[in-house]
């Protein structure tokens, strides 16, 4: 026989104005299992709480229903009061008499009866509540950062500077990412590498950071505070311990005509190479696909010349496992393949290039040492057309979203061009100029007004090469009454859309995080949890969420780092025990779970694992589902899906909900 206490709050007059609180308390007193019932003006006030505490002690209550405002308001308050009186806080339920009753109904019999019904429902529910204890999950104080662009660098440094160890994994031979490729950055026009490379070096030298380049995450298991990541260290064919980074091998390699990734195909590299001079680590790797030895079995020139004998052709891929408590995903983006808009002739015409190629042309470390020269003939273009929104905001052929960074970098490109080619003429075709950001609009205005960049509002229909080799850009000027315009250009720069990396979907599946239709990783909440994923303990930063500029990328990276640091600062994670559990019962059944594991696919959090029930000799009796309380978020989808009702959820158990529904309809 339970002893429930019912406490009806008047909430000043908020409840009592339309609900007869005394009658509700009186009716509650007569309900089965109720040992004490009363009403009071302000239950949440200190005297009100004292009233509850006292009643719990005096009447030895084993459950409490407070009829008051919404549980979303004061449930924590009343549960704390119960706990202070020695009652397990999860034995307290709130009947929502204010938001769901007194405030939405007129004064009258029906309103009071509804209040009684609500209380009745919760009395029956609370009679079946179980005392629960918060869940504690231990935390491994180490973080994994996937991706060594500016986001990963920033996140790794922030976490490491708080004293936690960080594993940074980068798939390329060097960290740096897209930012290392950029010439100068908007809106300040400071040199990208000048601000980035010190950070790259800091990462390499930081005692708390372990850097794995030319490495990829193979698999991730576990859950918040307790991940286990397997990392593949791709064979570099160079023994890093022996290599001094002298670079002799790269000068001797006979295979010199490989289009370099770092220069976006505008320059060449060798088969054994360092992607760029400031690379971190500044040690070469052998690109097996282009190496004569790997492809044809002959050469070994690098090995011959290496003064330290660091070349190891038979080096295998290595797999290492790291245990970490948190993961930050900073895998960035890539630009849309240009096959999306054949009408602009990219690939057909050498002097139609992408924005990122222009960055390389404009970069002092680029293939032209920062001079703007045409890829086709190396001449300085006198007329350049920049086309914004190549693929962006184009649901028919490209992607529906705005890539966000193109307006700004196009303005920057045009400006850089005007600075470098004083007699040059630049035209930008645009849809809208999106320059929201600190000093952004001013920057664009400067391009237009001071650097005389010709901005044409309209789309380009086609770029074609005339018989004489001139590129003709045919577009429309919508501000001039939709007139067709044709511009003869020496070079055309396409502001191609930023899209998700090709491996994003696969990585998301490895990590069990969700992604949007464009394969960008999805935030747990777009506004309030912008750097969290819906898998606890995994965070996001930078352009893997959506195209972002550098300030925003760095901000999210620091944000994610702050989340990680706050997680790693705890020895244990304490979580609400409102999680699903798989039942246990007497042998020979052990659990009514039959191990069909169909629930695994119903769980949005991959919280359901397999557990073997063994006898004393260690033989497996049966394999059943097990809910990992560290991962379970308590949605209960598995509970209503389970056919044998072997899974139940604490706090909203089958018995509780069943009793509540029946009790609500009890009165005749």
């Amino acid at each position: 026989m339970s002893k429930i206490g019912v406490f009806i709050c008047h909430c000043g007059e908020n409840i009592s104005a339309t609900v007869d609180c005394a009658r509700v308390a009186q009716a509650a007193a007569e309900m089965e299992g109720v040992a004490y019932a009363t009403d009071y003006k302000y239950m949440c006030s200190e005297p009100g709480q004292q009233l509850i505490r006292q009643a719990i002690r005096e009447h030895n209550l084993d459950g409490v229903v407070v009829g008051s405002c919404s549980p979303r308001m004061h449930e924590p308050t009343f549960r704390r009061a119960c706990a202070e009186a020695g009652l397990n806080p999860y034995l307290c339920e709130i009947a929502n008499l204010r938001e769901h009753c007194s405030w939405v109904h007129e004064k009258g019999e029906a309103t009071t009866q509804k209040a009684i019904d609500i209380v009745q429902g919760l009395v029956e529910k609370v009679r079946r509540n179980q005392p629960l204890t918060p869940i504690r999950v231990p935390v491994t104080k180490k973080a994994l950062v996937i991706g060594g662009g500016i986001a990963g660098i920033q996140a790794a440094l922030d976490i490491a500077n708080c004293g936690h160890r960080v594993i940074l994994v980068e798939k390329e031979p060097s960290i740096g990412g897209h930012m290392a490729q950029l010439s100068e950055t908007f809106p300040t026009l400071d040199c990208s590498q000048c601000i980035l490379t010190p950070r790259m070096v800091e990462v390499a030298q930081h005692p708390n950071i372990t850097l794995y380049t030319y490495a990829e995450v193979e698999s991730v298991e576990g859950f918040i505070g307790n991940f286990k990541a397997t990392i593949r260290l791709k064979a570099k064919s160079v023994d890093e311990k022996k290599c001094t980074g002298c670079g002799l091998c790269t000068t001797k390699c006979p295979n010199k005509k490989i289009p370099g990734e770092f220069n976006e195909g505008l320059g060449t590299r060798t088969a054994i190479y360092v992607p760029f001079p400031q690379a971190v680590p500044n040690k070469p790797v052998i690109d097996k696909e282009h190496c004569n030895y790997y492809q044809k079995g002959k050469c070994r020139v690098c090995e011959k010349f290496c003064p330290t004998g660091a070349i190891t052709f038979d080096q295998p891929d290595q797999f290492i496992t790291e245990e970490v408590g948190a993961i930050v995903v900073t895998t960035g983006f890539r630009v849309l393949p240009t096959s999306f808009f054949p009408e602009y002739g990219y690939g057909r015409y050498k002097d139609v290039i992408t924005g990122i190629q222009f960055e390389r042309l404009a970069s002092a470390s680029g293939p032209t040492m920062g001079e703007i020269r045409r890829p086709s003939d190396g001449t300085v273009p006198k007329k350049v057309v920049f086309i914004a929104c190549c693929g962006s905001r184009d649901p028919a052929k490209g992607i529906p979203y705005c890539s966000k960074i193109c307006c700004m970098y196009t303005a920057k490109h045009a400006m850089l061009y005007q600075h470098k080619v004083h007699d040059g003429e630049s035209t930008v075709f645009y849809m809208d100029i999106r320059a929201g950001g600190k000093n952004y609009e001013e920057f664009v205005r400067r391009a237009i007004e001071e650097d005389k960049v010709n901005y044409v509002r309209g789309r380009v229909a086609r770029v074609y090469e005339r018989a004489d080799g001139k590129l003709v850009v045919r577009g429309v000027d919508t501000l001039l009454g939709a007139q067709q315009v044709e511009i003869e250009a020496d070079m055309v720069v396409l502001a191609t859309a930023g899209v998700a990396n090709p491996g994003a979907e696969e990585l998301a599946q490895k990590l069990h995080i969700s992604y949007d239709p464009y394969h960008f990783f999805a935030e747990a909440h777009p506004k309030l949890r912008p750097v969290e994923t819906n898998t606890a303990g995994i965070y996001l930063a930078g352009a893997c969420q959506a195209p972002k500029d550098i300030p925003e990328t760095v901000a999210t990276a620091s944000g994610a780092a702050a989340k990680v640091v706050s997680l790693l600062s705890q020895d244990d994670l304490v979580r609400e025990p409102l999680v699903a559990v798989v039942n246990r019962c007497a042998p020979p059944v052990y659990s009514t779970c039959v191990g069909c594991f169909l629930c695994q696919t119903a769980c949005p959090y991959q919280a359901i694992e397999r557990e073997e029930i063994k006898d004393r000799q260690g033989r497996v009796i049966k394999t059943v589902a097990k809910v990992n309380p560290g991962l379970c978020q308590g949605c209960g989808t598995c509970v209503s899906f389970c056919r044998s009702k072997a899974i139940d959820i604490q706090g909203y158990s089958n018995e509780q909900m069943y009793a509540e529904v029946n009790a609500l309809l009890n009165h005749e």
Partner: protein, 154 residues
């Protein structure tokens, strides 16, 4: 007949998720929007948690109508509970209809935490429609039925 309908106060149970509709109904309260008293709310963590048997139990216990409401698609606090629920309801509804159970008495809605006014409309509309349908006598009768000879002394 119409008089009877006017006199008939339907009893309706609302199965709602904690994060959207329950919060939306809270907003109705804080906005002081009035609605009919016929609906009693049961709070679930998520629409994914709502067992179809609980709906049948509500009818068996005497409910004349049912509201099921949760987060709009893509807005689920648990990312996909409402999608699971939607599938379940599609299948369940088809089965109930085939069995001749009155599916017009189960109303499904998406009501977000911001849609306080919508919640009031949802309640009033459901109450009006169930009132029009009258009490769910045929189900209650079956729920009480045990054995033929007992019909005499019911």
């Amino acid at each position: 007949m119409d008089e009877n309908k006017a006199a008939f106060e339907p009893r309706i149970i609302a199965f709602v998720c904690n994060w959207c509709t329950y919060a939306g109904a809270d907003l109705t309260g804080t906005s002081r929007i009035k609605y009919a008293t016929n609906v009693e709310i049961v709070r679930f963590p998520c629409t994914g948690r709502i067992d179809f048997m609980l709906l049948l139990k509500a009818f068996a216990a005497g409910a004349d109508g049912i509201i099921v409401s949760g987060c709009h698609p893509n807005d689920c606090h648990y990312t996909s509970g409402n999608f699971h629920a939607r599938r379940r309801w599609i299948v369940f509804r088809g089965l109930l209809d085939f069995l001749g159970i009155d599916v017009r008495r189960i109303h499904y809605y998406w009501v977000s935490a911001a849609e306080g006014a919508k919640w009031a409309e949802v309640v009033n509309q459901t109450v009006a429609e169930i009132r029009e349908l009258g009490p769910y006598t045929e189900y209650k009768k079956v729920a009480n039925y045990i054995e033929e000879t007992e019909a005499a002394h019911e």
